[in-house]
């Protein structure tokens, strides 16, 4: 499938690109060429400078040094508009959509030929055309805030495609997709590439990159550490280029934990979503100490609601929530916290962190009420700083200043901070939603190892994830969540990737589940 050959000129050439932020070198002397007719992966760890590099190509940042050459011409993008006009489009990891607008309305931002007058019907018509052309499944009249993360991303992709971009950049595009959707996405990308588009995929998923791309460029610490045709790479080689050391795909030891007992139980629990529609339907689940229960499912099938019910944040409409043999139904989130429960939520910036508050204040979120930081309603900033220092060290996170806003940390470091913070207080139960989403190999293994360690020390762990590889690698039992229902519960050794995959799509024993 590799269409790249000597006769095709590069669509985009980056020459000696350097970009620094105060105290940080994001990119240094990066050279890279991206061709039409190819899918080119940009691979690297968190903070390796992949996104920064692409942001410069998109006119969001301006390089300090170096040239961007598009079709043999040096280009100077002063704002994203210029890049879009030149046919460069980016699908961001964090969606740039207007929540209060419908899908059809969102698709038309930046529409070049917007007529002077147009009706809602015109918008819908054009949206339908765009959606049909690219074969994406989105409901046109839904408001963006009603959509799952996966659906929102599809709208983002459509938005860029509808602007007629020739160079398409995808920042971690499959992070929120199911395996099937991911395959479908890459099929679409291949079609676009065959049409002469230049596709750049920022990723850290080795397997995906190896399976679906033509060429790979690896970035480490802001530098290009290797570019070659995909067929000349394998997992080990890529991983060593990414992290500078050989890392094998890890198998975790999961010793049997003796005499496990119930730590949490949902009895026929139903709950409503923020929009008042049924989110959970008659869910029965039991979590034992010393086990990891994986909840597989496509985003938007009740994952967030399930995690919120288990932490007291969302009230149940019927059924009972038990933690550690105590009926917690209707209790407040702070009562749940007192039961020795840790929670790393789905959307870290919206519910797990206070973005503009300091790193120190965000780190002590779980411990500020207890000695040494808190006592009789008082708060000791110096104790908070020392707790922060030791927690950051455990989490393997380096911070420029503890007083800097936490939003300055990279996504991976934010997640490491949250995980460590929650693991420290999870005495009975640890609930994690997509804990490794958007993280690199080293961070993923780090976090998976920590989850296993918690399990081995007798904590019940609930892992809500879309990554079946991850679920199969570390979970003792697997339950599938579809449309707010638990479709099945298995021991990991009793089920296959295929059967779980089917259930995630709502197919049960070759029959579509009626909801």
């Amino acid at each position: 499938m590799n269409s790249v050959n000597g006769s095709v000129a590069p669509k985009v050439t980056l020459a000696g690109i350097t970009k620094t932020f105060p105290g940080v070198i994001a990119n240094q002397d990066v050279d890279a060429e991206f061709f039409p007719y190819e899918i080119h992966a940009l691979l690297g760890e968190n903070g390796a400078g992949k996104t920064t590099l692409m942001n410069m190509l998109c006119g969001i940042y301006r390089q300090d040094n170096g040239k961007i050459i598009l079709d043999d011409k040096i280009v100077h993008f002063t704002e994203p508009r210029n890049a879009i006009d030149s046919g460069i489009g980016m699908v961001h990891q964090h969606f740039r959509l207007v929540n209060a607008f419908t899908v059809a309305e969102n698709l038309h931002f930046g529409w070049e030929n917007t007529p002077k007058t147009f009706s809602r019907k015109d918008l819908r018509q054009r949206a339908i055309e765009v959606i049909e052309k690219y074969g994406f499944d989105v409901s046109i009249d839904s408001y963006v805030h009603q959509l799952s993360a996966g659906e929102q991303q599809r709208v983002e992709i459509l938005k860029v495609l509808s602007r007629g971009a020739k160079v398409l950049i995808f920042d971690e595009p499959t992070a929120v997709l199911t395996p099937n959707e991911a395959t479908q996405l890459f099929e679409n990308l291949r079609r676009l590439a065959d049409d002469g588009h230049c596709i750049i995929v920022i990723s850290h998923k080795l397997r995906e990159v190896l399976a679906h791309t033509d060429r790979i460029t690896v970035l480490r610490c802001g530098r290009n550490t290797g570019t070659d045709a995909t067929k000349n790479f394998n997992e080990q080689k890529l991983a060593s280029l990414m992290v500078g050391r050989e890392i094998g795909t890890k198998k975790f030891e999961r010793p049997a934990v003796a005499k496990s007992q119930k730590v949490a139980e949902l009895k026929s629990v139903s709950a409503l979503s923020d929009l008042g529609t049924p989110a959970l339907r008659d869910v029965n689940l039991t979590i034992h100490s010393g086990e990891i229960l994986g909840i597989a499912g496509v985003a938007g099938n009740g994952q967030r609601d399930l995690s919120e019910v288990l932490t007291g944040i969302r009230k149940v409409t019927s059924g009972e929530v038990w933690v550690d043999n105590t009926n917690m139904t209707g209790k407040s989130p702070s009562d749940f916290l007192k039961m020795g429960l840790g929670f790393s939520p789905e959307d870290r910036l919206r519910s797990g962190l206070a973005a503009s508050a300091s790193i120190a204040n965000n780190t002590v979120v779980r411990e500020y009420r207890h000695s040494p930081i808190g006592k009789n309603g008082m708060f000791s900033p110096s104790a908070a700083r020392s707790v922060t220092n030791s927690l950051l060290k455990e989490a393997n996170v380096t911070a420029p200043s503890l007083n800097a806003p936490v939003s300055g940390l990279s996504g991976g470091n934010q997640q490491r901070l949250i995980m460590r913070r929650e693991i420290r207080i999870a005495k009975k139960l640890l609930i994690t939603v997509y804990p490794t989403r958007g993280l690199d190999v080293a961070a993923v293994q780090d976090i998976q190892k920590q989850l296993i360690e918690r399990r081995n020390s007798g904590v019940g762990v609930i892992l809500i994830s879309e990554e079946l590889d991850e679920i199969f690698a570390i979970c003792d039992r697997i339950a599938v969540l579809f449309n707010g229902k638990i479709l099945g519960e298995f021991k990991t050794e009793d089920c296959s990737l295929l059967s779980i995959g089917h259930l995630m799509g709502g197919v049960m024993d070759d029959e579509v589940v009626q909801v």
């Binding site: 301006r62 030149s86 508050a357």
Partner: protein, 366 residues
């Protein structure tokens, strides 16, 4: 007709001469830069002020010196400064605590008025020894101010009603109620007093100097308390977190709605106390215009100080000085409108500097 990206000619991508120039937002600016930008703003404002005075046919240098000397050069001037400083400082603290939580309490002015009203009602109709009565009046004013903040607080907490609009509108309501009572049911019927005011309130804050009452100490104590609460209590910590992310409340086990109400009530109570201090220390009657827009100046101070206690103090002194200088200039023959223009100009420029300090114009390498 606009072109689609496909049929754009190379000419469309020509580089204009200003393309290298970029206005760039700076994520973090140092305290030094901020201070410098404010100093430049004050200087620029002074130059503009000098021009205005010059064109009014007066000598800018002589008037400037006079304004400065009559504020800082005499104990009378300092006392005047203190009188203006007290309500600005206290309302600035009231606004700051709300801002910390991400609540735009624009209603400190109205809460000040309602605090003054509550204290006056008690002061006019109840008889008792001075000190216990003052304590009672203070408590009443705080309850009054808090009550005036209650409706916007509940609306924001439980119905997501924007508090900027509701608190702002209630300012006018509070001022009109005070107006009605002071020239209506509570007016001075003795015949000796001023026409458009309530009866005299006999309970008086002790004086520190001849004209300056001890209210300034309330302000300073409140400021220290504010600094301590924000920094050294779990309450202050939670307010900082929730102020940064409204959604984090349930995650840390704090009921956000209740906390919004609590913070708004505290803010209102502090503003209300400023009203009582004005009544018992300075004006001694409930009347229209008992606050010289002090609450609004307090809001400006709070915005500029970004919740920093020292910033609140410096900002309050600065604005009190400008107001006092304005009075001096007025007595020297400059029209009221010119004085108000100058005051507004200075504040506008300082606020602009605050914004502009966050951007840089750079020429990038091509």
């Amino acid at each position: 007709m606009s072109k689609t990206p496909q049929d754009r000619t190379p000419e469309d991508n020509k580089v204009p001469f200003w393309s290298g120039l970029r206005v760039k937002a700076v994520p973090e600016i140092s305290a030094k830069t901020l201070l410098l930008s404010r100093l430049i703003a004050v200087l620029a404002a002074l130059v503009l002020a000098a021009l205005v005075i010059k064109f009014s046919g007066l000598s800018p240098t002589a008037l400037g010196l006079k304004a400065f000397r009559s504020t800082f050069g005499s104990s009378f001037g300092l006392e005047q400064l203190g009188l203006l400083l007290t309500p600005i400082l206290i309302t600035a603290i009231a606004a700051s605590i709300a801002f910390k939580m991400g609540l735009w309490n624009i209603g400190v002015e109205g809460q000040l008025y309602f605090g003054a009203l509550s204290a006056s009602g008690l002061g006019i109709f109840m008889i008792g020894p001075n000190i216990p009565m003052l304590v009672l009046l203070a408590v009443a004013s705080m309850i009054g101010g808090a009550l005036w903040a209650l409706i916007p607080a509940l609306a924001r907490a439980y119905a997501q009603v924007n508090e900027i609009i509701s608190t702002l509108m209630l300012n006018f309501v509070a001022i009109l109620i005070v107006n009605y009572l002071s020239i209506g049911p509570w007016r001075d019927k003795s015949g000796v007093g001023v026409m458009a005011a309530s009866a005299r309130i006999p309970y008086v804050l002790p004086d520190w100097f001849e004209a300056l009452h001890v209210g300034i100490f309330f302000g300073l104590i409140l400021l220290v308390l504010y600094g301590l609460v924000v920094r050294f209590t779990q309450f202050g910590y939670e307010v900082d977190l929730i102020g940064s992310n409204n959604g984090i409340g349930p995650y840390i086990g704090v009921n956000t709605a209740k906390r919004i109400v609590a913070v708004m009530l505290i803010s209102g109570a502090i503003a209300g106390l400023a009203g009582m201090i004005e009544i018992t220390g300075n004006i001694h009657r409930l009347q229209d215009g008992l606050s010289n827009d002090f609450g609004l100046y307090g809001i400006i101070v709070a915005v500029l100080a970004r919740g920093q206690p020292l910033g609140v103090l410096i900002g309050s002194v600065f604005i009190a000085f400008i107001l006092n200088a304005g009075l001096v200039l007025q007595s020297a023959g400059l029209s009221v409108n010119s004085v108000l223009t100058l005051t507004g100009l200075i504040l506008l420029l300082v606020t602009c500097a605050e914004m502009l300090a966050r951007y840089r114009v750079t020429r990038t390498a091509t």
